[in-house]
Assembly symmetry: D2
Homo-oligomer: 254 residues x 4
């Protein structure tokens, strides 16, 4: 039986690409995303064409029990989850305080912070009983510094980062590897940045970043590091790592 | 008319003592706390006996509109808020993930992160219109590192710290001083630590820390720094500061 | 007998102004700087005109035994040093790696890191024997993030910051207060920024920052916080604090 | 012609093992260490037995021109350096300030900070001309927090970390990958920890950490991550990463 990799937040950017990478390496990948059933179907087909194995589920992580039931169903019907990739974002663009309704502030927390808490509450006891498991948590610059207009996003991500540390403190000695992966820059991802900018501005942005398209973080290259982290021996685990493209400045330099 | 200092979270520890200090320095202090009407009344009386001026209100910050209405009422009935001290804590002691219900995780966020967002949403536009104002935000070690059992508290405080940075980025150039004050250690506070430990263990703990009682952070001494921060000239503002007792190790050393 | 405040690096910016402030508050201030005997004389006279008490010494801190002998002489001839302000800078402007000679890299360390180590080695045993004392260490943005062209400065200041933490770990429980003060922005200081830019560009820079001259950190306002730190009760000491002008962005936002 | 990996500080722990790993992956590895010619010979032989390719040189990095001449000689006689592993340590155990002579403080800087500056000054212009290259810099907990007795080590490592950031700011856009690798815990390394503790205490320490010997950071597992970092695509580079064993607490939790 193949080990299982569950991806929560499996769009066409980091989530889907990381899922594909684990499938290529012999995992059965379970892809969950909120919408775009057609895109989800294509992701699964791509993996299967490539001789990989995958399942796809639409899931609204904001709904009560959605994550919990998916974790239980995967464990019951597919197999033990070895790797959980938590990739829900909560970027809503820059908004002044006056333009950030309570609902937007709360939704950021509900997806990015509470969502991880729910996923961890569901999967950590199972992993603990097996003495092993991996949580790969995608994070953002906003987890380490709050910038203008990022009220909702930074509060959510800052909470997420501290939660990763408390999870690590409790579960690392029990064999569960928790990694907080700081994506420090724009990702070449049509489902997130692409939607934020709109198709035309997204394409202009990509071209401005360079012909070789490596002025943006490329999801397939990000996936190399996600996979490496999941393979690290427990004597040398990484808890926090940053990733950015060579031509971009780190967050502390701008 | 006296300048107004509004304290949200005015127990017998940091909140009440800081309020008293501002009253001694010529502010009218408005003290808000969730319970213990008798204790609140005593605080106000103490201030008045000392020739200071204060008002007290019971307020459950977890209730919708509680903070918003209090801010509006103070502005309408007492005067413009010059200093807002946000002192709501969310420490619930160390609890393993399995012992941290969703409700507890959410309540931490609701008080410590969302509460500040609501307070800032209410008061910042008023301060911005006046071109000045101060937000003093009490924070905790858990805002900068997640420790075992601190799932709810660290996620809430980590979010709070990032929120302070986004507020600062937006409002500092508009003349509003946002300070994130890291209380890194146990405070000699009967209403928080005292309740967490119970009266007997609290007394033992105090005695173990030294006869001179400065092995704990003393609220009256903390208040000196809160007051200093509120008086800093805008050419030399502090955004982040830590406080601990001389005999304790900083968080990065244990 | 007045308590003594020894300032190492007492130019017309932070160092001299902090020294003046301590003199106003009843300390005898000892001012040490490398050059400009005339400027040093004026500083002492200014303090004395103001009914304060001060001494001034030219001292090249890069020379062996200079700091050590000054500490010993002050203790022998003037009185016990209560507060040592370590204010030697090592900013040499932005220089590419190829334009940073070994000598420049070493000099940065020699003044900013090793200088503090020597000062601490001289004064801490004396303060330890007295059970009290304060080290106020001026620091810079470069202590927490390395930016392009800051090879010498950032390496020196990063070392200085870690040294402050090791000094604090050893000496705080012995009653010595070590504070690392992060000056995060340009200071209105003719002897440092003024010399770096030249008088004309310095004046243009000042004017561009605003008519009220509070778009730059004002030394007299910085001095308020230095003095506050030295007065903190040992139950609520600050180890790290940042200072910047309201109109400037913090280092993590640019 | 094989790509070249130059290891400065190639003892039997991280340095030698990382070198071996690069040799296994097709690099010619150049190993430099201060002493133990016999151990160095064995390392080279081990690599060659394994069909790898390596050279070994004794080098006292504290001597002027030692690093510079080695870099030049490798480039002239062996080939262009693709990867430089800077692995000089400066841990001298915990020593109170009074037990840390100036010489010890300076030596820490000379090896750990200035050594890296010299290596970067020698190799970066060559890598820049080629438009690519990798600097993997081993670092330690002391780079991010100063603990009691670590005056020399923490000052040196804190400076090193900031230097890595200034190097990254200048050279990342030119195609040079600078990675600061925080080894946060004890390494199973006979040449460093082994010598610090002595053979008997080192063996006891290893046994106390667990029968499977993964309660210590294992150099061969550390090497996996060094190699991964050197293979990262330039659209997704890591600048900072931590490594620790699963059973140990991160530095921020103790």
């Amino acid at each position: 039986m193949k080990p299982v990799c569950l991806v929560i937040g499996a769009g066409a950017g980091i989530g889907g690409t990381v899922g594909k990478r684990f499938a290529q390496e012999g995992y059965h990948t379970v892809l969950c995303r909120r919408s775009d059933e057609e895109g989800l179907r294509r992701l699964v087909e791509d993996i299967e064409k490539d001789d990989g194995s995958a399942s796809g589920f639409l899931m609204d992580a904001a709904l009560p029990e959605s994550i919990e039931e998916r974790v239980a169903a995967v464990e019951a019907e597919i197999g033990p989850i070895e790797v959980l990739v938590f990739n829900l974002g909560a970027q809503i663009g820059d908004r002044a305080l006056a333009d950030t309704p309570y609902k937007a502030f709360e939704l950021g927390w509900r997806l990015a912070t509470f969502g991880l808490f729910r996923a961890a509450s569901a999967v950590c006891p199972l992993m603990e009983a097996r003495g092993k498991g991996t949580l790969l948590v995608t994070s953002a610059t906003a987890a380490v510094r709050g910038n203008a207009g990022q009220h909702s996003h930074a509060a959510a991500m800052g909470g997420r980062r501290m939660l990763c540390q408390t999870l690590n403190a409790e579960f690392s000695p029990k064999g569960i590897h928790v990694a907080h992966i700081l994506i420090d820059g724009a990702v070449d991802a049509p489902d997130t940045l692409g939607k934020l900018l709109g198709p035309e501005r997204f394409q202009q942005f990509r071209e401005a970043r360079g012909l070789e398209h490596d002025g943006l973080l490329l999801p397939s290259k990000i996936a190399d590091t996600y996979f490496h982290l999941a393979q690290q021996h427990r004597s040398a685990w990484t808890h926090e790592i940053d990733l950015r493209t060579f031509s971009d400045r780190p967050w502390w330099n701008h």
